[in-house]
Symmetry: D2
Subunit: 376 residues, 4 copies
């Protein structure tokens, strides 16, 4: 693939096409030098610069689709065989990117798992530096208790557990429930930033209110309680309800029909979940969005620095990942590693939840995007 | 009044109690010097420092209450006698602080007026650097058209017209309607920052939608459209609806009853209207809030740097301004000049809209507050 | 003067050229209405909108030049006749804008005074909310003691006393010394934000070090002490020395000669004094800069929102203020009120110190600039 | 080691001491489940949570000291055997942390290398997303040309090449020169954010000025050119000269002697290199500082989240890394992985250059520090 520099617009000259003036002759002296390096825990740049500093992001992670029709039965089966409780902490099954050496990383920065809680079960409380969210593609009946505030989980809801907040879950019903978890575990593990602390073995409040205290304080559009005027690192909202997300997307498409600029691009409505104290991302490491494509819409092919994960919430369509089209159905999850070209195609109306490591990339100023065919 | 320094906690020594070592003897030479000053447009500090640099804010503006029962009939009468239209622009009657030399300033920074629009009338479009809002204490039937977006005005709504947005109003009904306007006209005039431009003599869109386009894009709690990811100087929300404000306050008082920290202080619920792109004030010069006191609540006596204006929305109670208690009813408006001690007392449930110049004061780091009896 | 809107580029239609549809017939009923307004402390907008909301900034302040050759002798004379000390606090003589009703305001926001301290005199310590600086056009021998840190004052130095820092001055020598003071006294007085506190009658430290402690900690380019990592509201640097200012300007002109972009515009070098903890203005209300024009340079005619004051430091030239050219010599001070067109002309090399209220204007987003002949 | 939670102050309960309620019985059904996981690229959390989410940071990277007396001869030898030029790009030898599986990473985020340039050699120009700096422990005679601006490199200087700036080096002299490079290559590689572009094979300007253009514009304390008022992502200063660093540290210790708070702690002076447009770190991913300990000073034992690298610039002393003391001499380099306890001991006056990934850690809000014996 010829690579065009997104900033200069010029063709990229690859390392491989360069005459390497620096590869020295293999002599006994050179071997002695290299042995000296090894003895002193040194490694020359000139033998590995292609790998260390590629011309453009060349992730080991690969694009991949996990089918909900395969995931869910395995989760249910683990519900039969594996108890939930202290020690293992969560009946969560991580999606392991096939390119990442058997680690449970969906990308170098992100963890994504399906979590399953059987009837009347409780997952014990703990807290950790890692930032976490949950998104519910189906079901209801579980409350997650975050720092003592019980938060109902229902289809379409996006739920937050920012770093260092105690949290546990319990299922009030006679039905099991599954959802996806997203965390920054790989980033945290790679960079050695994580702390963990055990909490109560039972959740600290078994109440089952329709709305959590955080929502009751914070979910009034354009309003802020005077008791909460500080900027907080993460959002104080525990649950972003489907009813609001759905309404926001519906309005964007209606406005578009009325000729008002409201969508990202023709036929493509989208919202970002934000921290109301700043207007920015919900947590310092994870961005979350919801996208709705009108039937028949195709998005332009994009390359983005950073990794992104999508889950189909409703509808059918497909994703083109690095030139290969994959059909998608409700619940299917796919990952787009850094700079891999991707686009979406909607057969009927197509609803997708999305999360990414964009706050990491942007705060460190590594963000770049190339939209093919875009001459802006 | 003995003044206690809010930072040091020590008694303030006043200029007047100081032996003035600098007042020179009145000699012909001194008179010649002072004449020389005058000829050269100079004025010595030593003769006027008490006035220029008082020990604590000593506003010329005075605390004052305007009764809605007097205001409204005068506004209605002006509806009979004064046409609305190009030139005068608005049938708005400014509240003139009795201490401010006959200027239509409610405080050194703020303008507050009652505006009146008769049946089927239109106020023509214009724009200006001055930031403006409206608050509706009663009535409905007018739409304000802001940059082409028609915004319904109804009781309890708070409506924005940030600087340099074209806007006009029209009354769709057979009933007149009145509301209050708040602007930074005095600040703008004192500091010579204002521009003004005439627009269309008729509003550019006579549609009467229930919700404006800005609301449809922006009023979904915790969500932001991907088509609007920039931080904007002022809020993109044209109308903050009463239904949300009321619900937010109701929830704060319910949470307080449940033992959850949610109110500013016992029995005192309050929200601030904010710009969802930042979490900060709606406009760069004006803060707006809504306060609800539970029956029987008395707030502690406060001194704040900057000027504040309140309008009673519902209920009865009183305000103590610099030691004097004044009864308040629906629609009554009062001003608290800088550093004047004030507290509120609620007879029944007591709802008040409030606005102030706090963003000016805070952005320039002049903010201080002294709460009497508060040893924090 | 035909006014062109700097944003739209269109000719501005003035209030006066508008047929005023709103001026009602003068009837007994109308007079009764207006009497009702007066009784209730109300004033209609429609009779005064031209004054309250002009088409573009129409300051009462006028452009004016004060000659150092007149100022200095009056200051010296006041040194003979007026003692310095507690009560009057400072032997400072304010420049009173001829348009501002006999108040000692050089502009609606800014105070500028010449201060004079005789041999061996001490000006007592105090502190106030008002932000202050000093600039030294000639002389040396005084130390200003800011929060206990003695700061030498010498020709070309720019010295800070941010709000609420104790400060006093003393003259170590047998020669008098004069300098200019700049403060936000008018802004503070108009908006009722000022506090004042007396301190020691003698300065708290009579040491006369060459460099203050603040300079020794902070004046190392690109370096910050680990003991001072917080962002502070105002700069921690007490003195910005002439040697650095001069070198910075010299380098800019040399770089320009070498073809490197370094100056504001051809022949015009300029630096802004900044707070090293933020890179922004030295104090929240006052911007300070130093400008150097190469001989023969003329700057384009500008209109800026906000008020600016300049003092000639060295060289000769002129300023064109609202179309009128005024010759300038060392020490001369002139004010440019808001939106008044101005440009500079350098006869020889021309050095000017400048200060303004730009941080107020910019933080509140009222800033606009129109450069004549500039079609950007 | 008993671990105390730095926030709660309580003893940390480890995963290992917990009765694991979740480890299911090893049955054929369970094995079938686990095979199902593998087939679908899934991995359960409950078998690996100890590794993924440790109780506190448990880096694979180990503390290690590289001796300059070993490093430098190997670099010199590579100068004899390995040509410098296009392809390999730099004669740089990376310090490979013994815990990091043979990759040339000194920590999970940072790269540190010794770079060697022989007499009259040129390292060709290129640019990359990775942020880079150089620090010179000895020697002189090389100029690094950054975006066309030649920057002299001399002992004690800290030099910047922020991301996506073209840069090359050339040695003007008949003597070789070596220095250390620091980059965010590991972070960039792990997270797939890097772009690379070849530039000129010869540097674009062979001039050898004493001060670069960036220094001439920007290195005037407290001053900013009006031609450069934007906040930039990285510092515009290409070289932070030793003379300034040395003077800043000297002043801190003198001020400490005079009883003025100026040092980080008793006997420990330190400066941070900063971006003058913001007052913050020089680049978005790398912090750089210089520390000077008075003879005999011992710093308290600290644990910090994130990884840090030090190079001894002058003097002798030791570092205690995870309880083990290591002697240090001029040029020695050591790494402190995340949360590893460390302290410094100065025999004579002890000067150390330091860099870290703190901007990454802080911008993502993972920063924590525990100072042993500190009850603040």
């Amino acid at each position: 693939m010829t690579q065009i520099d997104p900033i200069t617009g010029l063709e990229v000259v690859d390392h491989d096409s360069i005459d390497d003036a620096m590869q020295p002759e293999d002599t006994p002296e050179l071997r002695a030098l290299y042995e000296g390096f090894e003895a002193e825990h040194l490694m020359p740049l000139w033998t590995q610069i292609d790998d260390l500093m590629p011309m453009y992001p060349s992730p080991k992670a690969v694009p991949h689709v996990w089918k909900w029709s395969s995931l869910y039965p395995l989760a249910r089966k683990s519900g039969d065989l594996v108890p939930v409780g202290r020690g293992g902490e969560r009946r969560a099954i991580g999606l392991a990117n096939p390119g990442l050496d058997g680690r449970a990383y969906i990308s170098p920065t992100l963890w994504c798992a399906i979590q399953y809680l059987g009837p009347k079960e409780t997952a014990p409380e703990h807290r950790h530096s890692q930032n976490a969210f949950r998104f519910v593609v189906e079901g209801e009946g579980v409350w997650t208790v975050v720092n003592g505030d019980p938060v109902r989980m229902s289809r379409g809801d996006f739920l937050l557990t920012p770093g260092w907040n105690f949290h546990g879950h319990h299922n009030e019903t006679d039905q099991p429930m599954a959802w996806i978890d997203g965390l920054d575990i790989p980033f945290s593990q790679q960079n050695d930033v994580g702390f963990f602390e055990f909490g109560s073995e039972r959740v600290t409040d078994y109440a089952t209110p329709r709305y959590s205290r955080g929502e009751r304080l914070w979910c009034h559009p354009g309003l802020r309680p005077l008791s909460g005027l500080q900027r907080t690192v993460s959002s104080p909202i525990g649950a972003y309800r489907w009813e609001y997300t759905d309404r926001a997307l519906t309005e964007q498409l209606l406005l578009e029909e009325e000729g008002v600029p409201a969508t990202v691009e023709q036929g493509h409505a989208a919202v970002r979940y934000v921290n109301p104290t700043t207007g920015g991302d919900v947590m310092p490491t994870i961005r979350a969005e919801f996208h709705r494509l009108r039937a028949g819409t195709e998005t332009p092919t994009r390359h983005d620095v950073g990794s992104q994960v999508f889950q189909v919430f409703e509808g059918t369509g497909s994703v083109v990942l690095d030139g290969t089209e994959r059909e998608l159905e409700r619940g299917d999850i796919f990952v787009v590693p850094s700079w891999v070209p991707w686009s979406l195609r909607a057969e009927g109306q197509f609803d997708l939840f999305a999360f990414s490591d964009a706050p990491i990339i942007e705060r460190l100023h590594f963000n770049r995007t190339l939209i093919e065919g875009d001459n802006r």
